[in-house]
């Protein structure tokens, strides 16, 4: 449980949970990290959950079918991409990104989880808590003989209670 980072505007420490931070987490804000978010053009999908025992926020990131089709078309010829996370923040403070470059085929389920984090530029560290505002950005880079592609997607959502959402991509084991 944490104080609303927007307290300077709202003057309410638990506004994200309508003043009830024990049983709720951000019911009306910019989303909770316990569901799937899809970009407007269908090019990106990110699914979130929070593990029951270790309290990790898990995510998996996929390229949408339209994007995969476009990348692998004969005029693009891109069948593998590198996905990185150039920016990540907790309560709007930038942290060292918890995901290194992964070079994989375009249908791959890019996934990781986050619990402990380190602020960039030597500003300490912390552990994810319910109600924290998590901001993550993914950068997709691919290339072929003919074309280069760079595309990105960002999500900001609040951390739900442990055990929220449906674990993936390996099923129930990811909920430990």
């Amino acid at each position: 449980m944490s104080i609303d980072p927007a307290i300077t505007q709202t003057l309410q420490p638990y506004a994200y949970a309508n003043g009830d931070p024990i049983s709720k987490s951000d019911p009306t804000g910019c989303g909770v990290c316990d569901r799937t978010y899809t970009s407007a053009n269908g090019y990106f999908k990110v699914h979130f959950w929070r593990t029951r025992l270790s309290g990790r926020v898990g995510w998996d990131f996929r390229l949408g079918v339209p994007f995969q089709a476009w990348l692998s078309s004969w005029w693009m010829g891109i069948n593998e991409v590198e996905v990185t996370m150039p920016h990540a923040a907790v309560n709007y403070w930038p942290i060292a990104t918890p995901y290194g470059p992964h070079l994989r085929w375009i249908g791959y389920d890019f996934h990781a989880s986050l619990r402990a984090y380190t602020f960039i530029r030597g500003m300490g560290s912390g552990v994810i808590r319910t109600g924290d505002q998590l901001s993550l950005s993914w950068l997709v880079v691919g290339g072929s003989f003919w074309a280069d592609v760079e595309a990105g997607f960002s999500i900001s959502c609040s951390v739900p209670r442990p055990g929220s959402g449906t674990a993936g991509p390996y099923g129930p084991y990811m909920n430990q």
């Binding site: 470059p101 070079l103 084991y173």
Partner: protein, 169 residues
């Protein structure tokens, strides 16, 4: 987002773009840190019958923290980066790296159609949702059971057993 951070982010993205094209060879000090940290995890992989990953001593990224990076090269030409934070204890480094290697192993096991739980928990051998968790206890990097909280062994000293068949990297 402050202008200062935006500028840092822009420069960091430029740097990473360059590292993607031209990975940086690790310095001798970085190489030793990578080898010392990876060694116990490789011992556990070998003890449990897993094939060992091909870890290149080169940095493909810079996340803006004091860290050493390596690149796990896979046979199909794919790969991913691993990170070892500097400024923390060797036990913390080993535990954090073990977690990263676990994810890679899970990927390879899943690709091979095998159960992805590595290392298997000896306290719950039949529970397919359960694998050991890398933690630091009393200044040592250890494998623990998440359900019971018990320490199973230090990382690098897993007992030898075949953990679901050899997996090719």
């Amino acid at each position: 987002m402050t202008d200062d951070y935006a500028e840092w982010l822009r420069r960091n993205m430029e740097l990473n773009k360059e590292l993607r094209k031209h990975p940086r060879r690790l310095t001798p000090e970085e190489r030793w840190l990578l080898r010392d940290t990876v060694a116990p995890v490789l011992d556990d992989l070998a003890a449990t019958g897993m094939m060992l990953p091909d870890i290149l001593e080169e940095a493909h990224e810079d996340r803006g923290v004091d860290a050493v990076y390596g690149w796990v090269l896979e046979p199909d030409g794919m790969g991913c980066s691993i990170q070892i934070l500097k400024g923390v204890s060797l036990a913390d480094q080993v535990a954090m790296l073990a977690e990263q290697i676990q994810e890679l192993v899970a990927d390879r096991l899943d690709d091979s159609g095998l159960s992805i739980q590595w290392p298997r928990c000896p306290e719950h051998p039949s529970d397919r949702r359960h694998r050991l968790v890398a933690e630091v206890r009393e200044a040592s990097a250890v494998w623990t059971c998440l359900e019971s909280g018990n320490v199973i062994c230090t990382i690098g000293s897993l007992p030898a057993w075949r953990d679901g068949g050899a997996v090719a990297w």
